[in-house]
Amino acid sequence: MLFLHMAKRENPNEIPKKFRSLKNTVLKNLKEKNSDSFKAFPKELNFLDKERDENIVLVLRTPFFRYIPQMIAMLLTLLLPLIIYLPISEEEGSRTFMIAMMLIAVMIVVTFLIFAVLRWYYNVGIITDKRVLDIDFHNIMSHSVAEARLEKIVDITVKQKGIEGSIFDVADIHIQTAGSNPEIVFSKIPRARDVQNILYELLENRKKGKI
């Protein structure tokens, strides 16, 4: 029974059936350079209200290096107990207080490191064969989910700016829509021009009724 189940399972490296029949498409070569920031046809990912016949084409994230400066800044917090300790070093019980301060500082730093990792993980852009979704984890108090159907997309613009963009080839993708939420922005995305081409191709195939 287990072998039968294994035989029935789709090869995780294969793209979904409906895309295999398309001719001259960039979608077929997408899986070649997969990374955590640019993942094509992920099998095990899901989102709320995903339709049964809907396929996730791309999952996009800002590369993790963007969070490294924040993390280094947080590590500097560990110096704060030492600075506070200097004027009170002569006092009775100051060593015990120093240990308490270090414990608190380490805890705060770890909390913010975890927060940085989770922000990277949950700031995600999803492109399916039916819609575009942008999940933004702004801070501990708020997050937002923007969504637009492919039919509603009017224009896709890639804006690359700054040294960061030139060095790491990351750019913002502005997706103009005709809906009530006029613009969806994927910030600092790798391979932005590829994403733009993929979106145009999906739009075209959707209009022709191929997907």
Partner: protein, 89 residues
């Protein structure tokens, strides 16, 4: 003259001890707030992640929630130790 000097010495010494006491106490108070703030931050982070994990589910979702639960427990334990140390100091 001696009496006057003695009075001045007494004032000087008592003033110093008052000051040293207040400095350590002054440093202690904000740390209690920091501990409370950190616990609140971790709990809020867990709740936010719980909502986000429902919106966007992935194989990593469950381990992340478990890790955060474990971190909440760790934070509370470490915070209690820190409070104890601050009181003892």
């Amino acid at each position: 003259m001696n009496i006057e000097n003695n009075i001045l010495d007494f004032w000087g010494s008592s003033g110093e001890s008052m000051l040293s006491f207040s400095i350590l106490t002054l440093f202690k108070i904000p740390f209690f707030f920091l501990i409370l703030g950190n616990i609140l931050l971790v709990i809020l982070l867990y709740l936010r992640v719980k909502i986000l994990a429902d919106t966007f589910s992935s194989p990593a979702g469950k381990p992340i929630k478990l890790l955060l639960k474990a971190y909440i427990v760790t934070t509370i334990i470490v915070s209690l130790i820190a409070v104890l140390l601050i009181i003892l100091a």
